[in-house]
Amino acid sequence: MGLSIATATGLYGVSFGALAVAAGLTVGQTMALSLLMFTGGSQFAFIGVIAGGGVPSAALGAAALLGVRNAVYAMQMNHMLQPQGWRKWLAAQVTIDESTATAAGQTALDEQRRGFWVAGLGIFVLWNLFTFVGAWLGDALGDPRRWGLDGAAVAAFLGLLWPRLRQREPVALAVLSGVVTALALPQLPPGLPILVAAAVGAAWGWWMPDRAAASAGAEGAAP
């Protein structure tokens, strides 16, 4: 199971690599993101802000905020797998959506451990390999707009958002956040509307006390 997830995720790397180069990053900068940052959502956010004309510090802010959920995953994995010594430092780097989901999908402890490490390390290797292929392709293609690569970025973000929209509450939040972003875009410097949306999300998560109240609020928020 871990290996099939790793293979599928590795393929996202092609899109990331090509889009990063299209956003104006060098192949080296693109690889640095995949090797060192290694959390897909944050990496896409980083290049998304740069592609939209945002300053690097705004890209950093967006990437850092999208990485917050990894702390929650890490806490779950620490509780479940209890890695010791140097393994803890290595486990931290490969604590992402997919490795957490793989481990959480198992019931026996040794299966959980194996799922986490196979998915985490497998995705790390494939993600970087495919990032390089994508970056190299993006470099060779030249003008990204001619190939519709800006359309690919749109599709990629929607594709990352889609699996999180299974219930009414996140749909309402997504609509609210999208509207706020569209309203903020002409008013604020590039990159800041993203951070406004993050603040909306944080406030939503903080003040929506339970699921019932959240979906009642959701009906009010969705036009």
Partner: protein
């Protein structure tokens, strides 16, 4: 801030975020409210990035070929096509609209 500095600082921040879950006592993070906040920030940011990449041109809102990419991607996701194919279809539809108009 240069692009390289932002990449390196960003990588350090995201790594320390991951490490914090292994380092701090579980009770600091192990409450439903933190989980909800992290999940809500993720949804809000991905939605904002989708809107920005579809409609933003600098600080102006525009309707162009990227809207076709959004529509086609939504259809493809609704049809449960794999992520990579969704991305390719997005590129093809934006490219096709530019070609014809």
């Amino acid at each position: 801030m240069s692009l390289w500095l932002a990449i390196l600082v960003g990588a350090a921040v995201t790594y320390l975020t991951k490490l914090s879950g292994y380092a701090v006592p579980a009770r600091w993070l192990n409450n439903p409210r933190m989980t909800r906040v992290a999940g809500a920030i993720t949804v809000a940011l991905l939605s904002a990035l989708t809107v920005m990449n579809t409609f933003a041109s600098g600080t102006a809102l525009v309707l162009d070929a990227r809207l076709a990419a959004l529509a086609v991607a939504a259809l493809a996701l609704w049809a449960r096509l794999p992520f990579l194919l969704v991305v390719v279809l997005g590129a093809v539809s934006a490219g096709a609209v530019r070609w014809w108009t």
